[in-house]
Symmetry: C3
Subunit: 107 residues, 3 copies
C-alpha cells in the first residue's frame, strides 16, 4: 500500500532547485523537500553521450497532492521535458506520516 510519495526532479542550478522546492512547500504541495547536489548527469544528446552538473530535488508528499505538484513543477521548471517521477513509500513512522498529511492538507 502506498502511504506517501517521494517525487524527484532535477535541474541545472542550486538556485532553480531551491525555487522549485520553496514554491511547492509554500503552496502546501509537499510537506518538505531536500536538495542534493551537484550530481553528475549522464545522457544521450544528439548522438553523443553528454555529462552535466545537476541538482536533485526530493519532495515528500501524498498521493492526493501528486497531480497538482506535477503541474506546479512542470510550470516552474525551465526544461522542455523535466524529470518528474514518483516513488512510493510503503512503510513509515506513523507520526511522520501524520505530519506529512497535515502539512499538505491545504495543498
Amino acid at each position: 500500500m502506498t502511504l506517501a510519495l517521494t517525487v524527484l526532479t532535477t535541474t541545472d542550478s542550486a538556485e532553480k532547485a531551491e525555487e522549485l522546492a520553496r514554491g511547492a512547500v509554500e503552496a502546501r504541495l509537499a510537506a518538505c523537500a531536500q536538495i542534493s547536489g551537484p550530481v553528475t548527469s549522464v545522457y544521450h544528446w544528439k548522438n553523443a553521450i553528454e555529462t552535466s552538473q545537476e541538482w536533485q530535488v526530493f519532495f515528500k508528499t501524498t498521493e492526493a497532492c501528486y497531480d497538482t505538484l506535477e503541474a506546479h513543477i512542470a510550470r516552474v521548471h525551465d526544461y522542455d521535458t523535466p524529470e518528474i517521477l514518483a516513488l512510493p513509500v510503503v512503510r513509515g513512522s506513523a507520526a511522520y506520516l501524520a505530519w506529512l498529511a497535515e502539512e499538505t492538507s491545504a495543498g
Copy 2:
C-alpha cells in the same frame, strides 16, 4: 513484490547520521547504510519557509527488520518527529539480496 526496503531518515549533522547508521548496522537491523550530505532541506516552520542543512541516511534492510529498525531510529534520533520512510525494492541482483538477508538475519 517487495524484495527488500530502502529506509530513509535525515538528521542535522554528519556525526549524528553516522551514529544512526553504525547503530543500525551493528544491531544487524540493516545490512549497510549510506550517508549523503549536506543536503538542503526546505520546510514550513511557524508560518515561514525555512531551509537548513541536513544529512540523509539510506538503510538497506528487509521487511522482517523494518519494525525493529524504525524503533531503533526513533529511539536514537533527537528530533521529535524524525523522517522514517521506507521505499520498496522490486528487482535486484540475487547475490546482493542474499547478502542483504544474511547480514540482517540476526536483526
Copy 3:
C-alpha cells in the same frame, strides 16, 4: 503499477561510477543516470563496522531493460557482489516517461 525503474548501484570511485553510467546509457539500457557522491557507506566487514567512501549511480530505465541492465552492471562492476537494486516509479510526467521509453527502446 510500475511505470519505470530507478536502479541503484554504488562503487568506490567517481571514475568507475561514470564508466558504469556511460556504458549503460551508451548501450541504451538506461535513458540517463545520475552520479552522487562521495557518500559514506557503513557496513560489517570481518566482525567490525567499516566506513568507506562510495559513489552512487541512479539509472532511469524501464522494466523491459532491467535484466540486461543488471547483467551489464554485474559485468562491468569490479565488486564481487555489487549492490544492484531497483525501486519502482508509480507516477510520473507522461512526457518524461515517453522520453524514457524512447531512449531505451533500442536497449
